[in-house]
C-alpha cells in the first residue's frame, strides 16, 4: 500500500527548496550583473583573470592534499591497531577524535598560536602548523570513516588468514586491510577536502594566503566578483561532496558484499 504525500509534506518541502536555493539563485543572478544593464559573465572573467585566484586556490589545494595524506597516515593505522590489538584504547581515541567538535576552530587557532608563537618553539611561520591544524579539524571525520570501514571487516580473521599465508604485519596492513578500507577512506578524504578548500578561520588567523581569506579580501572591495566566488566555492564543495557520497555508497555496497555473515 503506498500512501500519497500529504499537503503538509509538500509545504515543508517547498519551504525547504525556497530557503535552500534562493541564496544560490540570488548569488548567481547578482554575479551576472557586473556590467550595467546587461547580464554578462564579466564578474567570472574578472575572477579568472586575477592571478591571486589561482594562487590561493592552488595553495588551498596543496594544503588540502597534504592534510589528507597526513590525516590518513595518522588515523588509519591507529584505528586498525586499536581494532586488532588494543581495544581498551578505543574510548581514549574516540574521545580525542571528538575533541575538535568541542574546541571551536577559533580556539584551536588561538591555542596553537600561543603555544608555538615564541621561542623555544617558534613554529607559527611554518605552513606545517596550518596543515597540523587542518589535520586536527579532520580527525573526527577521518576516524569515523576508518572506524566504520573497520567495523564492517573481520579484521582478526583477515589478519590471521594473511599471516598464515606468510605475510608480515606491514604486508597485512598495506596489502590486505588498506585496500579493503579504500572507499571508506576516500569518502573521508573528500569531506576533508571540502572543509579545507573553503576554510577561513585557521588560515586567516595564521595569516596564510588560502582560498578562504582570498574570498574575504575580494569581498571587501568587489561586490559582483564576490558573488561569483560564492558560486565557484559552492561548486567546489558540491563536487567534493558528490564524490564523497559516491564513494560512501560504493563503500556501503562493498560492505554488504563482504560483511561477515
Amino acid at each position: 500500500m503506498t500512501r500519497r504525500p500529504s499537503l503538509w509534506v509538500w509545504l515543508w518541502l517547498v519551504a525547504w527548496a525556497i530557503f535552500s536555493w534562493l541564496p544560490l539563485v540570488a548569488s548567481f543572478d547578482f554575479s551576472l550583473r557586473a556590467r550595467k544593464g546587461i547580464l554578462s559573465w564579466q564578474a567570472y572573467l574578472n575572477v579568472f583573470a586575477d592571478p591571486g585566484f589561482y594562487e590561493s586556490l592552488w595553495f588551498s589545494f596543496q594544503t588540502a592534499m597534504l592534510t589528507i595524506v597526513v590525516s590518513i597516515f595518522l588515523v588509519v593505522p591507529t584505528a586498525y591497531w586499536v581494532h586488532l590489538r588494543l581495544r581498551r584504547a578505543r574510548p581514549v581515541i574516540e574521545f580525542v577524535t571528538l575533541l575538535p567538535f568541542v574546541v571551536p576552530a577559533v580556539v584551536i587557532a588561538f591555542g596553537l598560536i600561543r603555544l608555538y608563537c615564541c621561542p623555544p618553539i617558534s613554529f607559527v611561520s611554518s605552513p606545517l602548523l596550518l596543515v597540523a591544524g587542518y589535520v586536527v579539524l579532520s580527525l573526527p571525520y577521518m576516524y569515523r570513516a576508518a572506524d566504520n570501514g573497520l567495523r564492517a571487516l573481520d579484521v582478526r580473521m583477515l589478519n590471521e588468514a594473511a599471516q598464515s599465508l606468510g605475510a608480515n604485519e606491514f604486508q597485512v596492513f598495506f596489502l590486505v586491510i588498506l585496500p579493503n578500507l579504500r572507499t571508506g577512506i576516500l569518502s573521508g578524504a573528500f569531506l576533508t577536502f571540502a572543509i579545507v578548500m573553503g576554510e577561513y578561520t585557521l588560515s586567516a588567523l595564521l595569516a596564510w594566503p588560502a582560498f578562504g581569506p582570498y574570498m574575504q579580501y575580494v569581498g571587501v572591495f568587489k561586490a559582483y566578483e564576490s558573488a561569483a566566488l560564492a558560486i565557484i566555492s559552492f561548486a567546489i564543495t558540491w563536487l567534493a561532496m558528490l564524490l564523497m557520497q559516491w564513494f560512501a555508497r560504493v563503500s556501503a555496497a562493498e560492505r554488504a558484499l563482504t560483511a561477515p555473515r
Binding site: W10, W12, W16, L22, S27, F73, L99, G111
Partner: protein, 314 residues
Amino acid sequence: MSKVAFDIRSIGAIRIGPRGALRVRLGDARLVWTTIGSWLPTLPFFIFSLAFLLLPSASIAVRSFQGAQGEFTLANIQQIFMRPDLLRAYENSILISIVTALSGGIFGFLVGYAITLGNLPHSLRSMVLTFSGVASNFAGVPLAFAFIATLGQKGLVTQLINSLLGTNIYHSGFSIYNFWGLSIVYTYFQLPLMVLIVIPALNGLRREWREAAEGLGATKYHYWRYVAFPILLPSLLGSMILLFANSFGAYATAYAFSGLHINLVSIVIGNNISGNVLYDPGLGNALALGMVVIMAVSIALYSYLQRRSELWLR
C-alpha cells in the same frame, strides 16, 4: 595490586600460556615490554594529538589563571565578569546559538519528517540528502556573500519585495547585518545539519509501533503525542544541542560580514589574536576557556541524551 598490573598479567598469561606462578613472575619484565609494544603503534597519533590539540587546549586553561609574570591569578576570569561588553558577547553568542538551534532544529525536523515518512518519491529524498550534505559544509565567507546577494541592501529578495510591495525592508528595520539577519544566515547551515542527524532517528520509528497504536484506537495526534514524540524527544534535544555547539563556535560566517556590529565571543577572540583591538593575552585565554567550557557542557549533555535515545532507537 593495581588494576594496570593485573591487566599486564592477564595479557601475559594468554601470551605465554598456562605456566607456574614462578615463571609468570619471571616473565613480568617481558610482559611490561609487550604492553609497551602494543601501545607503540598508536604513538604517532597520541604525540600528534598532544602537540596540536591537547597541549594547546590545556595551555589555554592554564594560562587563563596566570598573570603577566606567570603567577596564579583569577583576575582574567574576573575581568570577563566586570566587562559588560564581554558579557554581552557571551550573551549574544549563546542567544544566536539557541535561536538558530531552534529555527534550524524545528525546520530541519519537519523537512526530515517530510522526506522519511512523507511517502515522497525516492529521487526527491536523495536530492534533499545530497543537498544537505553540501549545504551543511557551505558556511563561512561564501555563505555570507550569498546572503548579501539575497537579503543585502541590493539583494535579489530585497529588490523583489521593494518592487512588488513598494516597501524597502531596510527602511522598516530589517538588516542582514544585525542579530536577526545573522540568525537567518546561520539557519542556512543549521537546517541541513539537522536534516542529516534527525533522519536516522526518524528511520528508527518502527512501523509496528504505529500499527499497534492505531490498533488500540489512537488517532494520528495520539500516536505522535504519546508514542513517537516521547521516543524522539531525547534525540531531538540532542540534535539541537549539537546545532547549538555548531553555531556557538562559528567564526568565519560572522567575520565575513565586515559591516557586522554584533558582538560575538568568537569574533572577540579572533580580534584578540590578530591584535586588532585590545591586546591582553590573559583575557584572550580566559575568553577561549569560557567558550570551551560552554561547548564541553553542551557536548556532555548531548552524549547523555544520545544514550537515553538509544534505549528505543538504534
